[in-house]
Structures are given as structure tokens and as C-alpha cells.
């Protein structure tokens, strides 16, 4: 658990670096921080138009589809964004690692936290969309919405583990980044984001394979809370947390194995 100790000791620095990340991103823009609201809002608007008027997929539990999709996509964007950035974070901060002493753990952590903050900023958009659609009578309001906080814990652990592993691996293997891009694509379509496992009409074998995807449980508990409006079964919660813990342990273990040679390879 040395990683956690290092992160805790440098929590003030991490906070400042996360702020720097966010600041720097919005510094030169007119709308500033509003961008983190506008981005998901635009996304939602596009989905609403496309998936209502142009192409309207229907399956049980998937109505209204734009909201269904949005509620699965949000945590995925957190995960995939952090992993993609994570594959570059140590390389980008190479000068710092090589010239100033600072623990390399900082940078993957900063990546995860700044994406988490982006995600948290998008949550009000999701919340308001739910309120609006229930007022319009399209959907009953999911009273389980606050559970999103709990659902985010396995997401955070999983993302953290993945980012730690990817960050250090992509320093040592420069083609890791391309690989990550493809893997994310594969993972996206094999996760129940654009569809739900329950409403899926596919051969049993394929269904079983898709259910093996570790992210499936995470997507489902998240969407159950913010969209479906129910508390997932304890088994599902257990699986989601187990995925998170295993990912975290594995990721930090991989990080530790390559940690000492990061500076030389960067």
C-alpha cells in the first residue's frame, strides 16, 4: 500500500497539479470552466436528436434511448479518457521526473483525478436531464440517483489501476499507446454501453462472453443507479467492487515493478 501512502503524503501537490491541469485547459478559452458542462450537454443534445428522429433503437429498459446511452457513456468517458491520457502522462512529465525529484506516482494519480473532476462536473447535466425527462413524462425519475457516489468507487479503483499500469508500460513500450487505443475500442463495444445485457437478443454463448467483461458490472451498477432507478443486486455490487480492487492491486503492482526504471526510460 505504499502507493496510497505516497499519494497521501503528496496530496497537497496532487491537488495543485490537478488544478493546474484544469486551469491550463481552460485558461485561454472564453467560456472557461463552463466547457466541462457544455461538452456533455452538446453530446446529450446530439444523441437526443439522432437517436429520437434519425435512428431509434428500441429494447426493453432502453427508453428513452438518448438518456440510456448518456448514462452508460459518462462513466466510460471517465475511464477511457483517463486511460488514454495516462498512456502519455509520464512521458509528458518526463522533464520533471528527470530533473526534479518527485515520485512518479503523482502523475497517473493527477490524470485520474482530473478526469474524475470532469466527470463530477458532468453529473449535474445528467441529473437535470433525468429531472426534465420525468417532468415530461418520458421516464420515471430514478430515486436511486445518489447511489452514483457509491457506484463511482469501483470505477475510480478500476480506472486508477488501469492508468497506473498503462502509464508505466507506455514509458517502456512506446507502441503501448496505439495498442491502448485499439483495446479501448474493443472494450467499448463489448461493454453494455450502447446496449444492455438484459435486453440483448444474441446467442447464449456470445451473451456469456460479454458478461465476462469486467466493465459490464461497473456499467450496470452505475446505470441502475442513475437511469433505471433501482439498486443493483448485492452480487453485482460485489463483482463491481471486486473488479475495482483487483484492477487497483494489479495496476499498482505493475507500476511498482517498473517504477525504478521510469526515469531512465522516459
Amino acid at each position: 500500500m505504499t502507493v496510497i501512502r505516497i499519494l497521501w503524503r503528496h496530496r497537497a501537490l496532487i491537488a495543485v497539479l490537478v488544478r493546474r491541469d484544469l486551469d491550463a485547459r481552460y485558461r485561454a478559452s472564453v467560456l472557461g470552466f463552463f466547457w466541462s458542462l457544455i461538452n456533455p450537454l452538446l453530446l446529450l443534445a446530439v444523441y437526443a436528436v439522432v437517436f429520437t428522429y434519425i435512428f431509434n433503437p428500441r429494447f426493453p429498459g432502453g427508453d428513452p434511448y438518448p438518456l440510456f446511452l448518456f448514462s452508460g457513456l459518462l462513466p466510460w468517458l471517465f475511464f477511457s479518457g483517463a486511460v488514454l491520457d495516462g498512456s502519455a502522462t509520464l512521458i509528458d512529465n518526463g522533464p520533471l521526473l528527470a530533473k526534479v525529484m518527485c515520485p512518479p506516482e503523482l502523475f497517473p494519480a493527477v490524470t485520474v483525478f482530473s478526469h474524475l473532476i470532469h466527470h463530477l462536473l458532468a453529473l449535474p447535466v445528467l441529473f437535470l436531464a433525468m429531472v426534465a425527462s420525468s417532468v415530461a413524462g418520458l421516464h420515471s425519475f430514478p430515486w436511486s440517483f445518489p447511489l452514483v457516489v457509491v457506484a463511482l468507487i469501483p470505477w475510480l479503483l478500476t480506472t486508477g489501476g488501469a492508468v497506473f499500469a498503462i502509464s508505466v508500460l507506455s514509458v517502456h513500450y512506446r507502441d503501448m499507446r496505439d495498442l491502448v487505443g485499439h483495446l479501448l475500442n474493443l472494450l467499448f463495444f463489448s461493454s453494455p454501453i450502447i446496449y444492455s445485457l438484459e435486453g440483448l437478443q444474441v446467442p447464449v454463448m456470445l451473451h456469456r462472453v460479454l458478461a465476462l467483461n469486467p466493465l459490464a458490472s461497473l456499467v450496470t451498477v452505475y446505470r441502475d443507479a442513475v437511469f433505471v432507478g433501482r439498486v443493483s443486486s448485492p452480487q453485482l455490487w460485489l463483482v463491481a467492487f471486486a473488479v475495482g480492487v483487483v484492477s487497483w492491486l494489479l495496476g499498482t503492482r505493475i507500476f511498482a515493478a517498473y517504477r525504478e526504471t521510469v526515469v531512465e526510460a522516459v
Partner: protein, 425 residues
Amino acid sequence: MKGSLRFADVTKAFRWQGLRSPHETVKGAFFHRRKRRQKSSREQYVALDCVDLQVSTGEAVALIGPNGSGKSTLLKLIGGILKPTSGTVEVAGRVTALIEVGAGFHPEITGRENVVINGMLLGLGRREIEERMQEIVDFADIGPFIDQPVKIYSSGMYVRLGFAVAVAADPDILLIDEVLAVGDEAFTRRCLDRLARMRQRGVTMVLVSHDLDLVTSFADRALYLNRGKIVAEGPADAVVARYRSDAAGGSGRDDQLPTRREDDDEMRWGNGDIEIDSVELLVGEKRSRLVAGGGPCSLRIGYSVHKQTDDFVFGVAWHRSDGTQVSGHNTDLAGLVPRRLETDGEVCCEYDSLQLAPGEYLVDVAIHARNGLAYDYWCDALKVRVTSEVEWPGVWSPPHRWRSTGPEWGKSTEYRRAAPEDTDE
């Protein structure tokens, strides 16, 4: 003890990087697994080779040597940026590395915000930085630019701000890698002054520089590295002299590089073909370590010959204990052409009048070949105290008189006496 550091048998090897390395890619890692296990010397580059080093609190040590000799690697090992391949590195206290000032400044945010982040990276707390902010801003002296994004800074401003943060970090050990070479002259002077004051406070400093004058004026001690090994170690001016003579004599010839004489005093080296047996100061006919400024004296060098040669130079260098060079002279510069050196004997360097200001002086004595190859190089072979009735400042005390037609002067009966004279040790 805070501010001290110790290297015991430290080796640092790097794996070669580049296109020929099979481990750069995931594909490579899979297809060259077996190769990966064996660490052949072909895959490794030894940057530091079994280095022992001890630096005590408050010392200023310079690392000199040609490019690629391992100086920066050594510095990074002290800083904890790199880990040794083998051996142990012990460092006590907070280390700040001025390896590349301003490394990690983010271009999009302002100088002031960067100061906070950089300060925290250097180990300061947020409150400490707020407290020192004014001091840092004053020292950097970049005016209204401090509240502008760093991307519009000139490279000089960048360095100024980076240096200001780094020295404000209040380290126990400060590592400096060539950073004084940047910035304009006024700023460099200010940096040096700040470093000097930090030294007074007892901050340990390790400096890498190719500016040899800076090294001799700044460092107590120098280490001369070549190909990852410490070739010479001792008082800064002596080691610098050694480095200079090596550089002039073609440092590429590895076999000719004299090795450090392990068994002897660290401030002495050479291949031992000719050995200095004794160095004495003679005043009149008497041996002494005390000589009156302006009086006559001579240096007598006794030597023994272990290997006959026709290429030899006897040399003497005077310096102050603070490293200030006073004078250096040798038989070659005096126009004496060496013919033959077969038997043991003595050489004398006679001074009609030692025109030195009062104080303590150190004398290096050397016998070397004309290309600089040392037979015996003995730093601080002799400590001499020059006395005077009046405490002159500086090092030179020429005989002189004041003549005038205008003002009238009386004659003082009181002299400002020099410090009480030590008797012969």
C-alpha cells in the same frame, strides 16, 4: 548528520537505448524474451564505476571532467532521481537539485502559479511558499511578467524564476548542474552571492561545472571524473590543475592517465617514476614555515628517481587556502630544457624577495612530464605563513612608496600590527 552524503562502491549502468534495442516495443518484449534475461556488457553502458565518495555537512564539492564522464549521473544519484545499479547511496537531509531550473514550468499558467507548483515539487509546503513568495519574486526581478503565463517568458526570465524558487527551497544539500552559465552577468553575480550566503549557513553544495575558474573559487574540494571513475580528488585548485594538464595532454590516451595513489594521501598522485621526498622552506640556511613578507627565501625539493627520464619539469604553485591562485612557476616556463634525470637529488627555487601580503599560503609541488603527465603531484605539500608588520589586504605586497608635493603628512608612531606571529611548528 543533516547535509552529509556518502557513496559506497556505487555503480550505475544504463541499458543502451535506440533502434537496435529489442525491448522498446511490446512486440519486442514478446519476441525477445530470452535475450532480455541476459545482461551482456554490450547492452549496458557503465556511467559510474565503483565510486566511493563522502561529503560532509557544509562542504562545497565540485565535479569536473570531460563530457560523458558521469558527473550528471552522480548528481542525479545524490538527488534520488536515479537509483544505483549496485552499491549504496546515503543522503541525509533535504536535497534540492538545480539541474535544470524551471523544469516543469507549465507554459499556460502564470509565473506566480508556477512558483507554487515548483516550490511544492521541491518539497516546500504551500504556506512556506506563500511566505517566501515576495522574496522569490524580488529575487527573480522580472517585473509584471510574474503574473503572465510562462509561455511568453524569455529564456532568461524562465531561468531567473526557476533559480529564485530553487534557492528559496532552503535545502540541506544543493545540487548545481551548470545552471550558473545562463542569465546575464548581473544575475549570475546575484546567484553566486546567494550561493555564497547559503554556504555560510552551512548548506552542502555539489557543483558540476566546466567553468574551472568558478570551480576553484567556489569549491573546497573537487573530484575529477573520467569514464565513470574518480581519477583525482583533493583541493579544488590542485584537481583543476590536474584536469587542465590532462586536457592539454590528450585525455584520450587511457593508458597514460596516472591513477590515484590509493595508499597515499588523497591530495597526491602520479605514476611514481620520480618521487618527491621532501619540500622545505629555507629562510637563510634555516628550515622554517614562517617568512617575513618581502624577505628572501627558497623552496628546496628533495626527490628520488625510480625510472630515468629525459622529460621532466619541476613546478611550484602558490595559492591561498580559499583557493585563490597566487603564482605558479616551473622549470619549463623558466626556459630550462630537461636533459637527463638519473640520480636522486635536490632542486631549489630561490626567491630574492617574497612579495606576498601576510597570511597563510599553500604550496603545491610537482614533478611531471612536459605534456602534463604527473610523476608526482603533491598538493598542499607545504603550508607557509607570511608575516608583516602591517596587515595588508590582498596577496601582493610590492615594495612601494608614496610621493607627493601637495598634502602634508606626519609620521605615525603606531602600526596596526599583524596578527601575533606563530613560532616554528
